[in-house]
């Protein structure tokens, strides 16, 4: 268990790295401002106008509700895909023959445009939360599956032999030797899958008229209210960032404290 001081220093570093993130965002905002000055408010409202619109939205309780709706749908889709994809991926990783059989289906699933899924799911489930959640799940299932399967298949077999020579049973070997290696592979992919789940959820809501941020975007579009549309985009990106930095990254750094040790001394990130 890392000590309290170690964890505090890690948190400090994490917060400090927020500054560099802020600097990057400022550059982005500056370019946005330039584009705004070139094209005018109707095409592209300025960052400040957008922020003001977002602030106005946040003052409204229904906006929070819409955000929560979308976030919970995206997260349940992500969780569904995470659980099914990881379990199936682990299984396939141990059985190369199965992996080879499943690979074409994964390619197929990746190849079907998300919009086609939405149409199909709308027919099957109607226009509700189920369609949105399932779209999000379907969108990130293949990458999670492949990540888990590759994590298992590319494990270090020498470590397996070592554990076997110490008399560890198959279950303990899986938990203590194989799973950490698999998670190591899977984590960056989970981050990507989470983003995909959010995007797919918003898109499904917009197309299926199923409430949430997607529907709010559709309303802004019909009112030609670009500032409002941008404000919604800003809010959904913020929701994604909040989940990523509040949930995924802390878990990751907790699990991968050893990577920090691997960095040479005196080299700043």
């Amino acid at each position: 268990m890392p000590s309290f001081a170690e964890r505090a220093s890690r948190t400090g570093q994490f917060l400090w790295s927020g500054w560099s993130g802020l600097a990057g965002l400022s550059v982005f905002a500056a370019i946005w401002q330039v584009a705004h000055e070139a094209y005018g408010s109707f095409i592209l409202p300025s960052p400040l106008e957008t922020l003001a619109a977002a602030q106005a939205l946040l003052g409204d309780a229904t906006a929070w509700q819409l955000l929560a709706t979308t976030a919970s749908r995206a997260l349940s889709g992500f969780a569904l895909a995470g659980v099914i994809g990881t379990a199936a991926g682990c299984f396939a990783g141990f059985h190369p023959a199965i992996l080879r059989l499943v690979q074409p289906q994964i390619t197929l699933m990746l190849g079907v445009p998300p919009i086609a899924w939405i149409v199909l799911l709308m027919i099957w489930f109607g226009t509700g939360a189920a369609t949105v959640t399932t779209t999000a799940a379907v969108a990130c299932l293949p990458i999670v599956f492949l990540g888990a399967a590759e994590g298992i298949a590319s494990r270090d077999r020498l470590l397996d032999d070592m554990a076997l020579s110490l008399g560890m049973g198959p279950f303990r070997r899986f938990i203590r030797i194989t799973m950490p290696q698999m998670l190591n592979r899977l984590f960056p992919i989970l981050v990507m899958a989470l983003g995909t789940a959010f995007k797919a959820a918003v898109m499904a809501e917009l197309l299926a008229n199923a409430g949430g941020i997607g529907e709010a975007l559709a309303v802004s579009r019909s009112n030609l209210d670009v500032a409002n549309a941008l404000a919604w985009i800003l809010l959904s990106v913020s929701a994604l960032l909040a989940v990523e930095y509040g949930l995924i990254q802390p878990t990751r750094s907790e699990l991968e404290a050893w990577r920090r040790a691997a960095r040479p001394w005196g080299v700043k990130r």
Partner: protein, 248 residues
């Protein structure tokens, strides 16, 4: 009563015979060095004896309770500290404090300092990693240890140090062991008996016991014994050949 008894072991990889009719017996508290030309199947034999590979023929009788293997590479878990790496060998469910004491004792036995225990493998030097691997094997409470050329990557001084650790903890009634090496001086220094494997893996070519107990031999005696084996003893001709082949 022998600790490990291998009879008529045979193995083949992809139809190519690597080992054939190998019979070897290791007594209780005995450390046997296994030498032989490169590629003759020493590692394969060790893996079979340690239950990591299923042999095609022959059978194995183990009368010890537990074994542990020190591989040529340290094989440490990169995501765990040295302490956890050593601790993973302890299966008995003892209390936290007993466990820690046990880990520290094993680390001390392998000449690791306590402050190194909280480092990750990437923060350890090659020698420390290998010592951690030895500490892990010692912590497992195994009464039979397998070593597969564990010190080839280390410099001579460190090598000697590690050999002393092996001499201190294996053999002499405590644990039995099988030690693969290419270095005749190493074999003569640490083993009770040296077994030579045939160049093609066709059984054991022969064996020689080394006089005195492993801890009691001095450098002069070791040097003379090696000279005698290599120059006068036809049994070790192949081992000599191997070194030339390696160098060439």
């Amino acid at each position: 009563m022998s600790a490990l008894h291998l009879t008529g072991i045979g193995h083949a990889f992809l139809g190519r015979t690597v080992l054939d009719r190998v019979t070897l017996s290791i007594g209780e508290g005995e450390l046997v060095a296994l030498v032989g030309p490169s590629g003759c199947g020493k590692s394969t034999l060790l893996h079979i004896a340690a239950g990591l590979v299923e042999p095609r023929q022959g059978h194995i009788i183990r009368s010890y309770t537990r074994h542990a293997v020190v591989f040529q590479e340290p094989r440490l878990l990169p995501w765990a500290t040295a302490r956890k790496n050593i601790g993973m060998a302890i299966t008995a469910n003892c209390s936290g404090r007993d466990r820690q004491a046990h880990i520290v004792a094993a680390a001390m036995a392998a000449a690791l300092e306590e402050e190194d225990l909280d480092k990750y493998p990437v923060q350890l030097s090659g020698g420390m990693k290998q010592r951690t691997a030895i500490a892990r094997a010692l912590a497992s409470e195994a009464d039979f240890l397998f070593f597969d050329e564990p010190f080839t990557a280390l410099d001579p001084a460190l090598r000697r140090h590690m050999q002393d650790i092996v001499i201190r903890h294996v053999g002499g009634g405590k644990r039995a062991g099988l030690f693969i090496t290419h270095d005749m001086a190493e074999a003569v220094r640490i083993a009770h008996r040296i077994v030579v494997l045939d160049r093609r893996g066709n059984g054991v070519l022969g064996e020689r016991s080394v006089p005195l107990a492993p801890g009691e031999r001095d450098d002069r005696m070791i040097f003379e014994t090696v000279q005698h084996f290599m120059k006068k003893d036809p049994l070790f001709r192949h081992v000599e050949e191997l070194d030339e082949r390696r160098a060439g």
